[in-house]
């Protein structure tokens, strides 16, 4: 490279240094930037597209075919979708996943917010509390599920606690009424801490002057929270709710491990993603699995857009 190649320097998204372009050298720099730009970014972008965009598009294509993985694919139009919509287990799975999200997302968001507000007071041992609440988030879904299977055993730690309180302990994992709630409890327990940390960052981003103004106007405790803190946290809340929706509607590991892959007892832990897994590995029905993938993808997109409409407007300070 020569000295004259300085002309069209990069613009790091900020200011551009404008020097008069000098014909050939400018285009030389441009070409070098073009090569460097694609050379550095394409390896990553290509791998990303091959394993995200490609499969997403392939799902649409595969949903139009009947295929058992062993025979030849043949085109069946939209009949996979029609078949899926008449398949009762699919609706059970949709209901389980939706109920799971509807219960877990509000509770985990509220618990995380409450913990963050408490932790944001000037209390002792904040470091310890942050550590304790966050710790479940770094453990794997497999380990946490095994620990909960052990604790929620019929003769386990949790039931002995319930007995101590004078309550009868159900067979959490063996009963179709309690298996999914066990996963809900587990999920809230796992994610509340990491969501709390995001809320905490949001709280610390609120200008102190706002709080002081509220205090001057005579607002205290709950009123400040309701009318000052909560509206200002809307961006953070939106982020957490969207992440929560996407995460809970994708739940797979916990159901798979607790039910040994079957989604039992009586399909009570069958989520849509677990059903998709079983379409490939248990039923050998790729077309239905692809159709479910497409429908679920669109459903999650719709849920995200709905959350966006409801919570997504920017906050004005």
């Amino acid at each position: 490279m020569k000295l004259s190649t300085q002309t069209a320097s990069t613009r790091g998204g900020r200011e551009t240094i404008s020097r008069p372009p000098t014909g050939a050298t400018l285009s030389g720099r441009r070409r070098q930037d073009l090569i460097a730009g694609y050379g550095l970014s394409l390896p990553a972008v290509l791998i990303l597209f091959v394993f995200s965009l490609g499969p997403a598009l392939a799902a649409f294509y595969l949903s139009l075919f009947s295929w058992t993985l062993l025979n030849h694919m043949h085109y069946v139009g939209l009949s996979n979708f029609a078949g899926l919509l008449h398949y009762s287990v699919f609706w059970i799975a949709v209901r389980n996943s939706t109920v799971f999200a509807l219960v877990v997302v509000p509770i985990q968001t509220a618990v995380a917010l409450a913990l963050a507000v408490l932790l944001n007071q000037n209390l002792p041992a904040r470091g310890f509390f942050r550590l304790a609440f966050y710790f479940p988030s770094i453990s794997s879904s497999a380990v946490i599920t095994l620990i909960f299977m052990w604790m929620f055993n019929q003769l386990g730690l949790f039931n002995s606690f319930l007995n101590w309180l004078g309550l009868p302990g159900p067979d959490w994992l063996g009963s179709p009424h309690f298996a999914l709630p066990t996963i809900m409890i587990m999920n809230i327990w796992t994610t509340a801490g990491s969501l709390m940390i995001i809320f905490l960052a949001g709280l610390q981003g609120i200008p102190v002057s706002m709080m002081e103004a509220a205090a001057c106007d005579g607002a205290t405790g709950w009123k400040t929270f309701r009318h000052v803190t909560l509206p200002l946290l809307r961006t953070t809340t939106f982020f957490i709710v969207v992440m929560g929706i996407i995460g809970t509607l994708q739940m797979f590991d916990q159901s798979f491990i607790i039910s040994g892959g079957s989604g039992g007892p009586l399909h009570s832990t069958t989520t849509v993603v677990l059903l998709i897994y079983n379409f490939i590995f248990a039923y050998g029905n790729v077309g239905y699995g692809a159709a479910a993938t497409v429908l679920w993808f669109l459903f999650i997109l719709g849920a995200t857009l709905a959350a966006n409409k409801w919570l997504g407007q920017p906050v004005e300070y």
Partner: protein
């Protein structure tokens, strides 16, 4: 702020807050304490009801016995290979792409960036079926590469690195260009050293994510010699469902590397969570 707030009601509310937080912390830590307690018990004691907390006697050799019962050491190696490769790949590829998208002005950059961001809307679970078929087509089932390639790049990682590179001052780049420095050298010698905190955050989040990944190994590794820790322990549970002390000992050992990383690098983890929302 205001003098009257230091009164008894202020102290009472602080006391209540502390009490609630302490109860919460106990709820968060009990499962881990129970894991350790079970891991140190003889099998017979682990099954008594109501359960006892204090192991008697302390069976430290559970932590050794589990290595003989299942090939835990082998699973450790598999997990280390996969998580190590995934971390390395993300550091190099995400950083290069983030750099190009932030600091090189080239035609089509915006499209590439928007496309990358859009991939955040495609979580792995949702495309598990086509990804599995793709890996099958490529002959990557039952290989280490099959467990590495699909997570070798992450859109969140590219996004994170791009943000870090955007914040660097332009002057150094200009000086380097005047000195006739090539792009790769600029990247390695000037820009990269300035974003090491973000690199560390990305490395930690990626490593923990890969170490804890269950679904991808489940799809790819049918043969036991390729099982990672997460897959292995679940298979262990389905085979020896009653030997909870050994299972809990294995759970403890599996979580230990990540827990140590977390305790040492807590600040960077927290930074990563705040920036990305990744658990």
């Amino acid at each position: 702020m205001v003098g009257s707030r230091r009164g008894w009601s202020y102290r009472l509310s602080r006391g209540i807050f502390l009490l609630i937080l302490s109860l919460g912390a106990v709820v968060m830590l009990i499962p881990f304490a129970w894991t350790l307690s079970t891991a140190l018990k003889p099998l017979s004691l682990s099954l008594v009801f109501p359960p006892v907390w204090w192991p008697h006697p302390f069976v430290w050799k559970n932590f050794v016995a589990v290595f003989r019962r299942v090939p835990l050491a082998h699973w450790f190696i598999n997990s280390a290979i996969v998580a190590g490769a995934v971390t390395l790949g993300n550091l190099v590829l995400d950083a290069l792409a983030g750099y190009a998208l932030a600091r090189i002005d080239f035609k089509g950059r915006t499209w590439l960036y928007v496309g990358t961001l859009a991939m955040m809307m495609v979580p792995f679970q949702s495309v598990m079926l086509p990804v599995y078929l793709l890996l099958r087509q490529l002959g990557l089932l039952n290989t280490y590469w099959g467990m590495i390639l699909p997570t070798l790049v992450s859109s969140m990682g590219i996004f994170l690195m791009r943000q870090a590179f955007l914040n660097l001052p332009q002057e150094l780049d200009d000086a380097a260009i005047i000195d006739g420095c090539g792009r790769l050298r600029m990247f390695f010698q000037i820009s990269l050293p300035q974003v090491t905190p973000t690199l560390l955050t990305l490395a930690l989040l990626t490593f923990v994510g890969a170490w804890n990944n269950f679904l991808l190994p489940l799809l790819v590794a049918n043969q036991p010699h390729l099982w990672t820790l997460q897959l292995g322990i679940v298979e262990f549970q389905s085979q020896y469902a009653t030997d909870w002390p050994l299972l809990m000992a294995a759970s403890f050992l599996i979580t230990l590397p990540v827990a140590v990383l977390f305790l040492v690098f807590q600040r960077w983890f927290v930074r990563g969570i705040v920036m990305t929302g990744i658990k």
